[in-house]
């Protein structure tokens, strides 16, 4: 696994972020929620950009 993929806590005010994530999905149908997640995933992946980190993240997600 890439040394550079950060799997240590890295989000300040983690509870706030998590609440924000749930709030974004509030009131959405399953279909719209899935679409939102997919868009979010792509936006974050593009922000990271680094192919090695993305590959390591894909691997890390397959627990």
């Amino acid at each position: 696994m890439s040394e550079r993929l950060n799997l240590k806590p890295n989000i300040a005010n983690a509870d706030d972020f998590y609440a924000e994530l749930l709030a974004a999905h509030e009131g959405l149908s399953k279909e719209d929620s899935d679409a939102l997640n997919a868009r979010l995933l792509l936006i974050l992946a593009n922000h990271i950009g680094d192919r090695d980190i993305l590959a390591a993240a894909l691997k890390a997600a397959k627990i």
Binding site: L41, L42, I43
Partner: protein
């Protein structure tokens, strides 16, 4: 009006070979007069090698198949003496629009780089493409070049004897025997040659059907490529609209897997679909309709002894990306100079194995690209559809998502990075011109650089000294001496010098770079030439 594809262009006539008591030995026999077989024959005949094409048919491709022809094949056609009529007739386009559901999500411009003789793409019906190749073959024939197209000649038996190939050709007057030193099998995706030789053709079938319609209409659609994902007139599927010459438009409608092909093809079913797409008030006439299923597959090897496979017989791709005929032309471009050197006794027969290496590599690149396009256009699972739709939705708002939209990665030539014919790179030059890469065009005087290359090995010198003529093992290398003064547009500096002040390039007859150095080093270039013709150094 009789269409060109309904007119016999090379009708059957009896040949002296059919009356001979013993089978006549020919130099190169080409099976199939499609775009690839015709290009091979022209290339060989232009260099004085006898090329006999046999085709079971006597007409150009029925209806329209290929429509998009890319820059590299057009450059190859320039070398073959017939690029001009294609480009004159073809429609040049640069703008593409992508629609999702009911709205346009974005548009793109191919923004072709300046300083190339040929445009990034033209649209031209395959039947014109083949007609102009046939015209060129006839022109060469009239000039005395050893080229023949034998219509109504069907290959029914093939036997590689090791030092030649035995062929049995059927005709309306019965079969005859022929011998060939070499055979190039350009007999299309269902290649009878391949089947008769019991060779494999493996890959992936895409479970999908596409309705291809060429319609003649007088409509104000601009000269652009329009691609729809999930449009209201073809829910859950895709569609493509593209302009061809003569007011003919190519329409491509994805239909899905479980359909009745015969029913879907009937005009009473096609016309309502097209009306839904084009609008009720547009008048159109159907020129040609068919339904296709796509496959991506290739032979394991393109060379089998004295039989060489090129074009669709060797590899097949989905049409998204226009890589079929475009890559077939790159096959013959790669093959013909090698075959000539081997036939002239100037290169070892093993040079032909590099055709296999290089073009299998090219085919894999094409198959990879066209499979990925097909996977984007036709998502294979709920999750892949979800991600695909997310990309499309984002592309409307954010630039970052646009490169992820894949409605076909349009054909570009491949760089033979791993080729054994390449020599070590000895120039701090631009990576785009590293050994293995196709030469980029550039303005030169009144014309263009590529017009000065081709058919033979060339030593391109830029601000560098070198002998004007070189002879290595009986192969003449002509020099093309340029200096910065010739480079008024700066394109040669940008494409061939980079950080270097001067450069020497050894360029193969197919306009790929074999070697480069910052000075003329006699030993380096002698070895480079030997390596480029398959000799061990």
């Amino acid at each position: 009006m009789t269409k060109i594809f309904e007119t016999p262009l090379y009708p059957y006539t009896r040949q002296a070979d059919q009356n001979a008591a013993q089978p006549v030995r020919r130099k190169v026999v080409i099976i199939g007069a499609g775009p690839v077989g015709l290009a091979a024959a022209i290339d060989l005949a232009q260099q004085g090698i006898e090329a006999i094409i046999v085709d079971e048919n006597d007409k150009v491709s029925f209806g329209s198949r290929a429509i998009c022809f890319a820059k590299r094949p057009l450059e190859i056609l320039d070398r073959l003496g017939c690029g001009e009529p294609m480009v004159d007739k073809g429609v040049v386009w640069n703008l593409g629009k992508v629609f999702f559901d009911e709205r346009q999500v974005y548009e793109f411009n191919l923004l072709p780089e300046e300083g190339h003789r040929r445009p990034a793409f033209i649209n031209l019906q395959q039947y014109y493409f083949e007609e102009y190749l046939v015209n060129r073959a006839r022109e060469l024939q009239q000039q005395g070049a050893p080229i023949e197209i034998r219509g109504g000649n069907k290959l029914i038996k093939i036997d590689d004897k090791g030092d030649h190939v035995d062929l049995t050709i059927d005709t309306p007057e019965g079969p005859y025997q022929l011998e060939a030193d070499w055979v190039i099998a350009c007999d299309g995706a269902s290649s009878p040659t391949r089947q008769m030789m019991g060779l494999d053709f493996v890959g992936r079938i895409f479970e999908d059907n596409f309705l291809i319609a060429d319609v003649i209409m007088d409509a104000p659609f601009p000269t652009e490529r329009w691609f729809w994902f999930d449009p209201p007139f073809n829910k859950g599927q895709s569609a493509l609209l593209h302009k061809q010459p003569d007011g003919v438009w190519r329409i491509d409608l994805q239909l899905g897997w479980d359909i009745n092909k015969e029913e879907e093809k009937k005009p009473e079913n096609v016309i309502p679909r097209l009306k839904a797409m084009l609008g009720d008030d547009v008048n159109f006439e159907l020129e040609w309709v068919s339904i296709y299923t796509f496959q991506c597959r290739r032979m394991e090897n393109f060379r089998h002894g004295r039989v060489l496979f090129a074009g669709d017989s060797a590899h097949q791709v989905s049409p998204f990306g226009a890589r079929g005929a475009n890559s077939g032309l790159q096959d013959t471009d790669n093959l013909c100079w090698k075959l000539k050197l081997v036939m002239d006794g100037k290169a070892p027969e093993s040079l032909l194995d590099s055709y296999d290496d290089e073009r299998v590599y090219g085919a894999d690149e094409n198959i990879l690209n066209s499979s990925r396009s097909t996977d984007f256009i036709t998502p294979k699972s709920d999750m892949s559809r979800l991600l695909r739709d997310a990309v499309l939705d984002l592309s409307e708002h954010y630039e970052f998502a646009r490169p992820l939209v894949n409605s076909g990665r349009l054909s570009v030539p491949c760089t033979y990075d791993q080729s054994e014919l390449n020599s070590e790179d000895k120039l701090d030059g631009p990576t785009r011109s590293r050994p293995g890469s196709p030469c980029a065009d550039a303005p030169l005087g009144e014309g263009f650089l590529l017009d000065q290359l081709g058919d033979q090995f060339t030593l391109l010198t830029i601000n560098a000294d070198a002998p004007n003529e070189l002879d290595v093992d009986g192969i003449k290398i002509k020099r093309l001496a340029l200096s910065s003064a010739d480079d008024t547009s700066n394109a040669i500096k940008e494409r061939y010098l980079g950080n270097a002040q001067q450069a020497v390039y050894l360029i193969r007859p197919d306009q790929h770079v074999a070697a480069r150095h910052d000075t003329f080093d006699q030993t380096y270039f002698t070895n480079a030439l030997r390596r480029a013709i398959g000799k061990s150094v």
